[in-house]
Subunit: 291 residues, 2 copies
């Protein structure tokens, strides 16, 4: 059990870490750090944190576990705030959806990756944001990727692994670059595509009022375009190279499908759709394992 | 009340028409037509139809209302089967997701659009298919588009409107070409994009096993890629010109976004995402009206 768990950034994910740690009894005291005092009040009212501070340096005082749960664009500033008060005894982990940029930020601030910072990415989220959307079971049976680096202390790695497992997550290890490559495909590209489609159709709706003739499938398809725009701007910039490469491939995919359609070859189109359908079935079979 | 309602094609939509007509007491007798005797048995067992036939000519005997609910690719063959037994007293309607091809097929078979055939498209569906997925309330408070043509008899138009309204639908009128233009955007393009994305990532999964690291958002986003491949091949071919034009625009949209990303202009990316998010909110506000 931790004496003092500090969560920096008490939004959807940070708040959910707090609620989960609370309900699993993982920490004697939970401290929240957020620049917004209203968020800290709300987190206290929800029972997520015991006490709140507006600066990371205050919040981490005597903490033996620290979770950085700010948007990925803010991580470097958090490292800068933590550097003067960095403890070699505590473990540090984060929740960023991109990992190369987090590791680079740490290397930039500390000169090299601190041995007790273990980057993490819980594959869990909601299209809602803010501590009011936090759930104590958000990580339950969800996959979580740890991306240790050569500098990572093995005991710290195991402590962080144990922490996330205790929150209910199924923990996998992966290299930093492989993480960003995989997540560009499974998460970042789909978000960009959903945003782009909704953007295109939104302009069409202004002219033609098409949205009133959209069905439930459209609602599901575009749900992720309701994700937090600020957070996703950071994620896209942090993983821009991987996302751009995949975007080019996807443009090619659409272009090829357009040719199939213009060619009017029904059996080729049917085959294409059937392949996609069976790929999704394969995804569902795996997804069901943990959800 | 109808004496005899005949439903040609007893799948998800045809079966739902039957169940809804039954529960609303719209017909003394409901006849199903399907080439598959197993489907007819199942439809009878579900209480959707009273009697089943394997040919349209048998099924429409003495029917005063006929709903053509086969996949859009089969509509011309249905018209050909109905031509020798066409009644001028009954109303005919269909449920096709594309309308230009249905009207063309009717013109081809009958020389001109029959005055008592009123094309319809209920904006309702599920990613499941088959009569076993049919729901008696599938059309309840859902929009339904009628695309009458100059040849359409006004009294028949009103009878068909009344029929669909009695099934619970909110009926709108639209021209044939405007329907296909609007639905290409709200339904056909999203389906093609979901199929194409799932197709691309499916191949990536074969190599890199990425699907196990996909989250709930991916599940929603790709749900429509589990739609019936056969039906969607027909829809895409029937509305190929509109879909291809939109695909080209969407490729351009992705290309432009790729430039934004490469340029690294955070405020432009944020603005782009925020616009998409507010467009989706506008969609949800309208969608909530009827769902």
């Amino acid at each position: 059990m931790l004496d003092r768990l500090c969560i920096i950034g008490v939004g959807l994910i940070g708040g959910s870490v707090a609620l989960a740690a609370r309900s699993k009894g993982l920490a004697r005291e939970i401290v929240g750090v957020d620049r917004d005092p209203g968020t800290l009040r709300q987190a206290k009212a929800l029972g997520a944190i015991d006490v709140g501070f507006q600066t990371a340096a205050e919040g981490v005082y005597k903490a033996d576990g620290v979770v950085i749960a700010t948007p990925v664009g803010k991580v470097q500033a958090v490292f800068e705030a933590l550097a003067p008060v960095w403890s070699t005894q505590a473990f540090y982990t984060d929740v960023g959806s991109t990992k190369t940029n987090v590791v680079r930020a740490a290397e930039h601030v500390f000169g090299k990756m601190p041995a007790n910072f273990v980057p993490a990415h819980p594959i869990a989220g909601r299209e809602l944001s803010g501590v009011e959307a936090a759930l104590g079971d958000l990580f339950e049976s969800k996959r979580l990727i740890l991306t240790p680096v050569p500098e990572t202390d093995v005991r710290m790695l195991e402590r962080v692994r144990g922490f996330w497992q205790a929150l209910g997550a199924e923990v996998h290890d992966m290299s930093v670059t492989h993480h960003d490559h995989v997540l560009a495909a499974t998460s970042h590209l789909p978000h960009v595509v959903a945003y782009a489609l909704t953007h295109l159709l939104g302009r069409k709706d202004e002219k033609d009022e098409i949205f009133q003739y959209a069905a439930g499938g459209f609602k599901d398809f575009t749900r992720i375009a309701s994700s937090d725009a600020d957070m996703w701007a950071d994620i896209c910039l942090a993983n821009a190279a991987e996302i751009t490469a995949l975007l080019r491939r996807f443009e090619g995919e659409l272009h090829d499908f357009g040719h199939l359609l213009e060619g009017g070859d029904r059996s080729a189109i049917l085959h294409y759709f059937a392949e996609a359908r069976s790929a999704r079935q394969r995804f569902l079979d795996r997804y069901r394992d943990t959800s």
